[in-house]
C-alpha cells in the first residue's frame, strides 16, 4: 500500500469518526428544523421533510432571547475585562521572576483554579448576602466568575510571557524607558496574541456559565441564556424542537468563533494547560 493511499484511508476513517463524534451537534440543528410531529417519528428521520426555518425567529421572540443573550454578553464581557486587567499583570510578575515566593504564588493560583463552583457557591452566596453585593446580581456573578477563572487565565498568559525574551525588555530599559513604560510598549504588544487567545477562552466559558448565575440571579430579566435554557427544559417537556432551536441560537456564535480561531485556540490551550 503506497503512502498516499494509506493517508487517504486514514483521512476517511478520521472523518467518519469526527462525523460520529459531532453527531449530537448535527442532531441539535436537525431537531430544531423538524415539525412537532416529525421529531417524534419512529424510525427517526435524519433529514427534515420540510425545514422549519421560521422556528428560530419564533423561539427568539417567544422566549425573549435578546434579553438572555444580552445578559450573557454583559456577564462574559465584564468577567473578561476584570480578569484581563488584573490577571495580565499577575502573570507577568509570575513569569519574570524565579524564587520561593513566586513558587508559593503559583501554587496558590493552581490550588484556587480547582475549587468547584457548585461547592464554592454556598459561602459566596452567604457572603454576598451579608455584604449587600447581591443587590447587584450581575455584578455579583461577574465577581464570582472572575475569581473562579482568573487562575486559568494566569496559567495560560504566564506561558506566553515566558516566551517573550527578557533581553528585549532590558534593551528598552537601557534606552531610558521606565519599568512601566517597557512593560506597556514592549512586553505587552509582544504577548498580545497569547493574551487574546486566553481572553477568548475565558469569554466562551463565561458565556456558558450556569451555577453562579442560577444561584445569584433571581430576576428573570437579568438572567443569562444558560439559566433561560434550563428554565425552558421542564421535567416533562415535549417541545424539543423549540428547546433545540434555543440551544442552536445560543451556541452558534460560540461555535463560529471557535471554528474561525481554532488553530490559535488549540495552540494557546496546549501551551499553558499542562505546564
Amino acid at each position: 500500500m503506497s503512502e498516499t493511499t494509506k493517508n487517504r484511508l486514514l483521512l476517511v476513517f478520521a472523518l467518519l469518526l469526527a462525523a460520529v463524534y459531532l453527531f449530537p451537534l448535527y442532531w441539535m440543528y436537525i431537531t430544531a428544523l423538524k415539525t412537532g410531529s416529525e421529531m417524534f417519528r419512529t424510525p427517526p428521520s435524519f433529514w427534515p421533510d420540510e425545514p422549519q426555518w421560521s422556528i428560530f425567529p419564533f423561539v427568539f421572540q417567544l422566549k425573549g432571547m435578546n434579553q438572555f443573550l444580552w445578559n450573557s454578553t454583559v456577564i462574559a464581557s465584564g468577567s473578561v475585562a476584570l480578569i484581563a486587567v488584573l490577571g495580565t499583570g499577575a502573570s507577568y510578575v509570575l513569569a519574570r521572576y524565579r524564587n520561593v515566593w513566586i513558587d508559593v504564588g503559583l501554587f496558590l493560583v493552581l490550588m484556587l483554579q480547582v475549587l468547584p463552583a457548585s461547592l464554592m457557591i454556598t459561602p459566596i452566596f452567604v457572603l454576598f448576602t451579608l455584604t449587600g453585593i447581591l443587590d447587584f446580581p450581575r455584578t455579583a456573578v461577574i465577581l464570582a466568575i472572575a475569581a473562579k477563572s482568573m487562575p486559568f487565565f494566569i496559567v495560560l498568559v504566564r506561558a506566553t510571557f515566558m516566551s517573550v525574551p527578557m533581553e528585549l525588555e532590558e534593551a528598552a530599559l537601557v534606552d531610558g524607558n521606565s519599568r512601566a513604560g517597557a512593560f506597556w510598549s514592549i512586553v505587552l504588544p509582544l504577548a498580545r496574541n497569547g493574551i487574546l487567545v486566553a481572553a477568548i477562552l475565558i469569554f466562551m466559558q463565561a458565556f456558558g456559565e450556569f451555577v453562579y448565575s442560577k444561584s445569584l440571579i433571581q430576576e428573570i430579566e437579568l438572567q443569562p441564556s444558560s439559566v433561560g435554557l434550563n428554565a425552558f427544559m421542564g421535567p416533562n417537556t415535549n417541545e424539543w424542537n423549540r428547546i433545540m432551536a434555543f440551544a442552536s441560537i445560543y451556541v452558534t456564535p460560540i461555535l463560529a468563533t471557535f471554528v474561525l480561531l481554532q488553530r490559535r485556540i488549540v495552540s494557546g490551550l496546549t501551551s499553558g494547560a499542562l505546564k
Binding site: 483521512l11 478520521a14 442532531w27 421529531m39 468547584p116 457548585s118 440551544a247 499542562l274
Partner: protein, 300 residues
Amino acid sequence: MRRLYSSLVDGRGFDLCLIGIPLVFLIVLSGVPLVYNVVMSFQAVDMFSLGSFIRPWVGFDNYRQLISQPEFWPIMGHTATFLAASIAGQFLFGFALALLFWLNFPGASWLRGLFLVSWVMPGLVVGAVWNWLLSGDFGVFNFVLHQLHIISGNVFWRSDPAFALWSVIIANIWLGTSFNMIMLSVGLSSIPDDLYEAAELDGAGALTRFWTITLPMMRSSIGALISLGLIFTLQQFDLFAAITSGGPNNSSNVAQYWAWDLSFKQYDFAKGAAISVIMIVVVMLASVYYVRSTRHEVRG
C-alpha cells in the same frame, strides 16, 4: 510622595502592584469564602440567621447529621462511580483518538482541533442535547443501539434509576474526550522520533514499541491528565442540572450537585457547607498531586 510614584513606575513597587492587586482580589473572593465555608459548616444556619455574622455554634452536628442521612453513602458511591467511569472513558477514548491523529496524515491537525467543539460548548447546551438524544421513547441513541442489536427494548436512560447516573456519565465522556485527546497529543508529540527508529531497527513490533516507549514516556503527562480529569469531573454540575437533576430519587445524585441542592433547593446552608468542605478536601488532595506531577514544568 515622589519616591512612591517612581517606585510604582520604575521599581519594586511596580511588580508588587501588579501581583498584589490580583492576589488581594483572589484572597477576598476565593480565600475568604473558602475559610468562611468551614466556619459555616460548624454553625446552625437557617433563613433567619442568613443575614447575620453571629450564629449559634453547633460543633460537628452538621457533619454528624449529614452522614446519618440515608442518602449520604449512596451519593458518595455515585460520586465515586461517576468519577471513575468518566475519567476512564474520557481517557481511553481520548488516548485512542490521540494515537490515530498522531499518524499525522494530511488534515489531521485541523480535524483534531474540530473535536474540541464539545469542550467549548456551554455545559447546559451539551446537557440539553444529550437529554434529547437519550430520551426513552424517541431518543436517537436508543434507536441506534436497537439497530446495532445491542438492546431489544427501549432503555429509559434518564428515568430508570439503574441508568440515570450512566446517562450523565455518557454525556460527560463525550464532553471531555476531546480535551483529553488534545492534551495527550501534546505528550505524544514530545516523544523523540529516534527512539522509535532505534526500536524498529532492533526489530520491535508496533505493540512492543507502544508498551516500552510510548507508555513509559507518557507517564508524567498521563499522571497530570488523570488528576486534571479528577478536578474537572468534580466540577461537573451543568450536566446534572440539564439531564437528571440528580433524580429519580437521588439515583443520579453526586456530592457536588447535592451540596448545591441542599443549599439552594432545601435552604439548608449549613449542611451544604459541610458537604462542600468534605469535597473541597478531596479536590485539594487531587490538585496537590497534579501540581507535584507538573512541578518540573512549573519552574519553567
